[in-house]
Symmetry: C2
Subunit: 296 residues, 2 copies
């Protein structure tokens, strides 16, 4: 399986869907919408939408009608990046090699672009056309799960913990909590959204949730690692910025080699979660392995 080629295909599908579901930058609100578009179309890897769609496919479902869900997840991810980059937060000037949203549009517009994307995500999650593939009850369940994953005890809370921890000595348990909330929760929710969209039975839902949790963890460990071993050019942002900020990370705790082993462990655990799935889950498996290959 050529995972890179498949990823590129899936990315193209998501890209097109984002373009069709996103508002057009016209009329009195053109500037506001343009600020949202700028970050939404800034070369994201579309990991969360792809996880959502691939999970539905692993269950034998047609992923196409689920594209609004996939786009909603990317809107949420993009909002979180815009807000995280703000001067009051991580104060980053570059994101994926381009000026961050507030550098380009100013701080007020960037805050509102994030707010707009977050609200718009819930518009997409409730698009009437989703009724063709999801029961309203499943839709409500899905929205609840996404809202919880990104809220005060999920992604937003994780960012709050992360900021509070900067420059502090924190325990490994605290570091894990930050990761689980800040990046793990939305990645897991993306897989869960695909599971609901693919009509997973309760056992499958549990297995896929476990897959999502371990993939999310692997993803975060690798991200920490790349900040140490990657170059600014590869990353699209300043390499070594975590260490410069004295941020708690896996490599700061365990060193590069042990961190790499821990990433592999997380990938293996993700794969183990899929034991009872057939070859339609192969892409999910390859995706988990692919995360690890980024570290070497």
């Amino acid at each position: 399986m050529d995972v890179k080629a498949i990823l590129a295909d899936k990315r193209a599908v998501v890209e097109e869907a984002l373009k069709s579901y996103m508002l057009k930058a016209e009329g009195p609100l053109a500037d506001h919408i343009a600020a949202m578009q700028y970050s939404l179309f800034a070369g994201g890897k579309r990991v969360r939408p792809i996880l959502c769609l691939a999970t539905a496919e692993a269950l034998g479902a047609n992923p196409k009608p689920l594209l609004p869900l996939a786009c909603a997840l990317e809107c949420i991810h993009t909002y979180s990046l815009i807000h995280d980059d703000l001067p009051a937060m991580d104060n980053d000037d570059l994101r994926r090699g381009m000026p961050t949203n507030h550098k380009k549009f100013g701080e007020a517009a960037a805050i509102l672009a994030g707010d707009g994307l977050l609200s718009y995500a819930f518009e997409l999650l409730t698009l009437p056309e989703l009724a063709a593939t999801l029961s309203p009850a499943d839709q409500v369940r899905l929205i609840h799960l996404v809202a919880k994953a990104i809220g005060p005890l999920g992604m937003v809370g994780g960012q709050a913990l992360d900021l509070a921890a900067e420059g502090q000595a924190i325990s490994f348990e605290e570091l894990q909590r930050i990761h689980r909330c800040k990046t793990g929760a939305l990645i897991t929710a993306s897989v869960q959204a695909g599971a609901i969209g693919g009509h997973a039975d309760p056992q499958q839902f549990v297995a896929l949730t476990s897959y999502g949790e371990h993939v999310g963890l692997a993803f975060q460990i690798v991200d920490d690692l790349l900040n140490v071993v990657g170059t600014t050019e590869e990353l699209g942002k300043a390499a070594g910025s975590d260490a410069a900020r004295n941020k708690a990370t896996y490599p700061a705790y365990f060193g590069v080699e042990k961190t790499r082993a821990m990433a592999l462990e997380a990938v293996d655990a993700a794969l183990a979660s899929l034991t009872n799935f057939d070859q339609r889950a192969d892409f999910l498996r390859e995706l988990a392995r692919y995360i690890y290959t980024r570290t070497t």
Copy 2:
């Protein structure tokens, strides 16, 4: 009808519900949750929850099971205030006579408190217990309508337009658009949420939507007016701040007297929308009249 006494009763009900539905400030995320609570319990008038509950009552429904919806609307309103007050936005130090969220907790925490409240609102809108009173299809419809009202073409867009208009000469049409988006949309959605919660038929839904739109307009006109004629003590924020900022407002366009007449017109239109409702809508009627009495 003693509208002030009834308002106080209803406020107390909302206050208690907010306390029970809000997260407790404990555990690792206590600080983040405390920042959300600070603004949520800062003496808000609870106009949106009360409109929602009173609309359901006007349709003969028991408002109690709808309290999670009412609380969600207040979380959204509170998030919007926190973000609007930020230094990059309106840069306000006081809100309801107290330090604004960023003055109290810092800018990063305030941005995250807003983000947390917005996300949490969608958790509340999808609480499993709502299934006892709302069909899942109605819930999805309601969430869609709320998301739209507060998104890029609604409340967030309105704030973007408002910021862009500051210090600019804008037409009356533009001023109306700002108001409709920035404050009107969520007020209308609050009434619509109550209409769906009270199982309005399509005709009732249209009538109540019209009520919401006119009440929202009246509310905004009066707000503009109070900024001119009120005192800092009454307002809990700096009186005359709109004029100092050269903000487009109704009084800046039409003067105080004509603005007052326009508020009355909007109230009358709101009342006219309720022609086909019986005495159970009397509180909605009194509420519309009460908005106007604040100006005199």
